[in-house]
């Protein structure tokens, strides 16, 4: 996995309060959600975006990728338990849920998910006590940012 963007970090900031943004949401609109996850926040910036890394109180690490225009274009998560996907995916949660159900209605089965739709990509993987995943809106990726940069 490439990390050229991460390696080109310009700044490491310590923000006073944790934020919780939803995919596709506006960074300025998420202040009201900041109490949702009680944890620590670390923010880093690149030329293309700001990465907010939240260590939630449940041990889940959430990363939110915010464009210079202030839009959350990607989120990732990793931890012993799943995160609140309704919160993280925001208005995309229903689209995600419907896509999962559509795939599962075609065939039974258990396993990781790779949902690829024109306006939404969601990857979910893991097992009991180890869950990880990421979601992004392809059209919202800033110029020069690739899907594999979101980790």
């Amino acid at each position: 996995m490439k990390s050229r963007i991460i390696r080109s970090l310009l700044a490491i900031l310590a923000l006073p309060l944790p934020l919780v943004a939803s995919l596709g949401g506006d960074i300025t609109s998420v202040q009201s959600d900041q109490a949702k996850l009680q944890g620590t926040l670390r923010s880093t910036s690149t030329d293309s975006y700001t990465l907010h890394e939240i260590q939630a109180s449940t041990g889940v690490t959430v990363k939110e990728y915010v464009s210079s225009a202030g839009k959350v274009f990607a989120v990732t998560w990793q931890g012993a338990f799943p995160p609140d996907l309704r919160q993280l995916l925001g208005t995309y949660f229903d689209q995600y849920s419907q896509a999962v159900q559509a795939q599962r209605s075609l065939r039974h089965g258990r396993g990781p998910l790779l949902i690829q739709q024109p306006g939404l990509v969601v990857q979910v993987a893991g097992h009991a006590r180890s869950f990880w995943g990421k979601a992004y809106v392809p059209q919202m990726l800033p110029a020069g940012v690739h899907a594999e940069d979101i980790r």
Binding site: G109, L114, R129
Partner: protein
């Protein structure tokens, strides 16, 4: 299908005591007298087939699901018992979960604060199950887990799934959605949650609830009250399991294998020449190398995954199926190899094939498909096809075995 099978009580009275005592099968571990044709008391038959939803009205066959049956009794009773088939054997989770629709017994409800019923939201990777925690005596093969907390999925007594539960993923609380009458989690974990669920407040991940009539709220649940890996409650053979399945070529109707309890506890469950791969005790994962890249601490072995899930189309160059993006559909079968590496440094090559899922699944009567594979970006999920032609050992965390202390995998 009409096989929402509750096959009556398994009336195997091994103990030839007085007046025809009907036992809950098998007899307690160590105490059973072997009968003429019985397998050893730590061996449970498993079958990979299309499962309990293959026929009408569901007409929705499962593939690569390893099914078995369990016998449940009301705690302390040897007559108020029921055998339930179509239970999926899952090394990716721990704990016994059974659909409410498959249970005819009246099992005691676990209660928490203010004597309110305890109800669980258990997250799988792609779904959740919701339902009350109840207690049963479990018999499987010759093993017994007495007063075992289990999750009863989809109980009509608790119809409203909290939003905090569905936020983990969509609920699969009935037979049509689950494709099984229950899930027998016999993985590396001793409990389904662990210490994280024993605390109150914001750090509780929200698996256990108490549900007074006023509504459900997340609760702290002690280790002893959590839904455990049932193997840990056996009197013996309680340090892990072995899954043995025959080799498979392409698609087949069904195969039969064994779920063997204990590692190195009896003459039939020694490690033999198997290699031990220890896992990260906090994640349950190990490392897999593929095509010169190391995927660190993101690989695992999971009998409950129907395919070998690995990496993604961009990395593998293998396309997913057109209408079903959860599986690969290469134009011709690919023969690949990867190297698994345990935390202990043990390494071993795994050869596997990636077939065209549309072709492999063309016949709805086929319940087994070697070569079934799909994407799992960033790592390897060695699902049921990995088990074909192998003896796979899952050692439980904190338990002693001849191969060292669990958790580990061996094969």
């Amino acid at each position: 299908m009409t096989r929402v099978h509750l096959q009556g009580i398994l009336a195997v009275s091994l103990v030839a005591t007085l007046a025809a005592t009907v036992g809950c099968s098998g007899g307690s571990s160590g105490g059973s007298t072997t009968t003429q044709s019985s397998p050893p008391s730590n061996v449970q038959s498993i079958t990979v087939n299309t499962g309990p939803t293959a026929g009408p009205p569901y007409n929705s066959p499962y593939v690569n699901g390893a099914f078995t049956s369990v016998t449940l009794c009301v705690p302390g009773s040897t007559t108020n018992c029921q055998t339930i088939s179509g239970i999926l054997v899952d090394t990716g989770s721990s704990g016994l979960r059974v659909l409410s629709s498959a249970i005819t017994l009246s099992l005691p409800q676990q209660t928490g604060s203010n004597s309110s019923p305890v109800v669980e939201c258990f997250p799988f990777v792609d779904s959740t199950v919701w339902g009350p925690v109840q207690t049963a005596d479990l018999t499987i093969a010759g093993e017994q887990a007495k007063s075992l907390p289990i999750q009863v999925i989809g109980s009509s007594s608790f119809p409203n799934v909290p939003a905090g539960c569905t936020s983990f993923g969509p609920a699969q609380d009935d037979l049509a959605l689950l494709g099984a009458n229950g899930i027998l989690g016999v993985g590396n974990l001793a409990q389904d949650c662990g210490t994280a669920c024993t605390v109150s407040g914001a750090s509780n991940p929200g698996l256990y609830y108490v549900c007074p009539s006023s509504g459900c709220e997340v609760t702290a649940e002690s280790i002893a009250n959590q839904v455990p890996n049932p193997v840990t409650l056996f009197a013996t053979d309680n340090n892990g399991v072995i899954i043995q399945l025959p080799s498979v070529s392409g698609a087949e109707t069904s195969i039969t294998g064994s779920l063997i309890f204990g590692i190195g506890t009896q003459s039939n469950n020694g490690l033999g020449s198997a290699t031990v791969y220890t896992i990260d005790p906090s994640t349950g994962n190990f490392t897999t190398q593929f095509n010169g890249t190391s995927y660190t601490d993101t690989s695992f072995i999971d009998s409950g995954s129907i395919a070998v899930y690995f990496l993604d189309p961009n990395t593998t160059g293998i396309l997913t199926c057109l209408d079903f993006t959860l599986l690969y559909c290469p134009s011709s079968t690919q023969s690949l190899s990867a190297t698994n590496q345990g935390m202990n440094g043990a390494t071993g090559t795994v050869n596997f094939t990636v077939g065209n899922a549309d072709t492999l699944l063309a016949n709805p009567n086929d319940g087994v498909a070697n070569g079934l594979a799909g994407p799992n970006p960033g790592g390897f999920d060695w699902g049921l096809p990995f088990f074909f032609g192998r003896s796979v050992y899952a050692a439980i965390e904190g338990s002693s075995t001849p191969g060292g202390q669990g958790p580990y995998w061996a094969y």
